[in-house]
């Protein structure tokens, strides 16, 4: 029985993945703007602003096939393991690196899981704000995770990845998404400088991310 479920999941995962990408394209006509890097297979950490639960599937949807298959999102275990359906999407479709956010229990060290995924050769998608940004500010203060990755694996490109419009497509509490056009903009990679303090680095990384925001006068 387990054998059968496993095969069924392996079979269904790419089909569901295609479905998610088609849906993202049909509703939001999502487009990748490769401003600072080329869309080539290279180990990268895409770090992005986080306003909606659809952020991660959206970045994942615009990545070309070869890059997508090499890229794993870093996501919260409590969210992605909540229901069997989400667990299937999180584990089998997106192959997420699932992080246990609980602080009061014994758990696997999140950093160890992230570094293990990098050492396997995977690229990662991470949201350094840690939580969804519900404020009017463009970004919440970054948590230390991005700094720790930059320090532990200094050669990996950290790519600022701005998702525009998604918070209008699906604000918190709404059920029906608005079909507005979304863009995902990839900027020039940042790296940790020698002896750069954590605060400076995180500010620099956040500025590099906000700089990718497309300008539309309102």
């Amino acid at each position: 029985m387990t054998w059968m479920t496993r095969n069924l999941r392996t079979f269904a995962a790419p089909i569901v993945g295609h479905g998610i990408r088609l849906f993202a394209r049909f509703t939001t006509a999502v487009r990748a703007d490769w401003k600072g890097i080329e869309p080539v297979v290279k180990q990268r950490v895409y770090y992005s602003n986080h306003t909606s639960n659809a952020d991660m599937p959206m970045i994942w949807s615009v990545l070309p096939g070869a890059i997508r298959r090499q890229t794993r999102p870093v996501a919260a275990a409590d969210y992605w393991l909540k229901t069997p359906l989400r667990a299937f999407a999180g584990r089998d479709v997106f192959r997420a690196v699932l992080i246990d956010r609980r602080r009061d229990v014994e758990r696997d060290d999140p950093m160890a899981l992230i570094l293990a995924a990098l050492d396997e050769g995977s690229s990662l998608i991470i949201f350094p704000e840690g939580n969804r940004n519900m404020t009017e500010d463009p970004l919440l203060p970054f948590r230390s995770g991005l700094y720790n990755i930059a320090k532990a694996r200094p050669d990996v490109d950290l790519v600022p990845t701005w998702i525009a419009n998604l918070n209008t497509v699906m604000p918190k509490g709404e059920i029906i998404p608005l079909p507005l056009i979304c863009t995902v903009t990839f900027g020039q990679p940042v790296h940790l400088k020698d002896d750069e303090p954590m605060g400076d680095f995180l500010t620099r990384a956040a500025d590099a991310l906000v700089a990718q925001r497309p300008e539309v006068r309102k």
Partner: protein, 312 residues
Amino acid sequence: MTTTTEILLLMLGASGILIMLTIFGDLVRARRPAGAPNPVLETYTTRVQSWWAMVILMTLALLTGMFGVSMLFGFVSFAALREFLTLTAKSKADHRSLVLAFFVVLPLQYLFVGMGWIGLFTVFIPVYAFLLLPIVSALRGDTSRFLVRVAETQWGLMVSVFCLSHVPALMVLELPGDGARRVLVIAFLVIVVQLGDLLDFFFGRRIGKRKIAAGISPKTWEGMAAGVLSATAIGGFLYWLTPFGVLGAMGMAAVASTTGMFGSIVLAAIKKDRGVRDWSHLIPGQGGFVDQLDSVIFAAPVFFHLARLIWT
């Protein structure tokens, strides 16, 4: 000759012109030194390419009649509304009214057109949507820039849904002659307006001197005059698609082409204000659906009501 044969003849004629335009572009390209990109030539080439796609889609839609044309323009309206509302002012409080605009107002408008309810589809958006959507937005309580938000949403609906739906609506008009041939009037409108645009672009580059609206659009008085005159002549050649007669067809072509060109300037002004070059990226090299159809958007309602006034 049956209507189907006439549609296929038109398709053949259009393909002939497009083959010539494609070859012409390739010849010009071949005479230029390699590695020196020419923006005018590139724009021309991508325009011709998107024309091929338009000709094929239009032919398929016309062959299936009212249903096909309504479906095609329904989807085009959806894409156009998406481009428009991506750039307009809105807040979280507008979420429900925007959902209604996309998923209720748009399909209903095309349903009313498909059913032929002229009395309803000509007032549904300007009256009912105009009054209903601000109510839905107001009930959510956010008053910041309220008038701007509801006005821009209404403009999006008028331009992308109301105006464009007047293209399939032409089949509803009780024009004189065989009812099955009414689909050809749609082909007439789209061909004269779009060919007028193409020739305006062509002549504007050659003989254009005085800008019509400097700072908004590259259109010139000379280019526009040549474009409208060409559209008028083409309308005369294609009079057999319509019940208007030769002179009537020429007049209708002139009015449609002129309205369309000024409409394209209006939509360019909106783009300029929002600081974007194109409405979207969805038609490769060409911009968005609104970029491609800007003149048809403005021409369609005027063409519809003139035809209704004079010939029914």
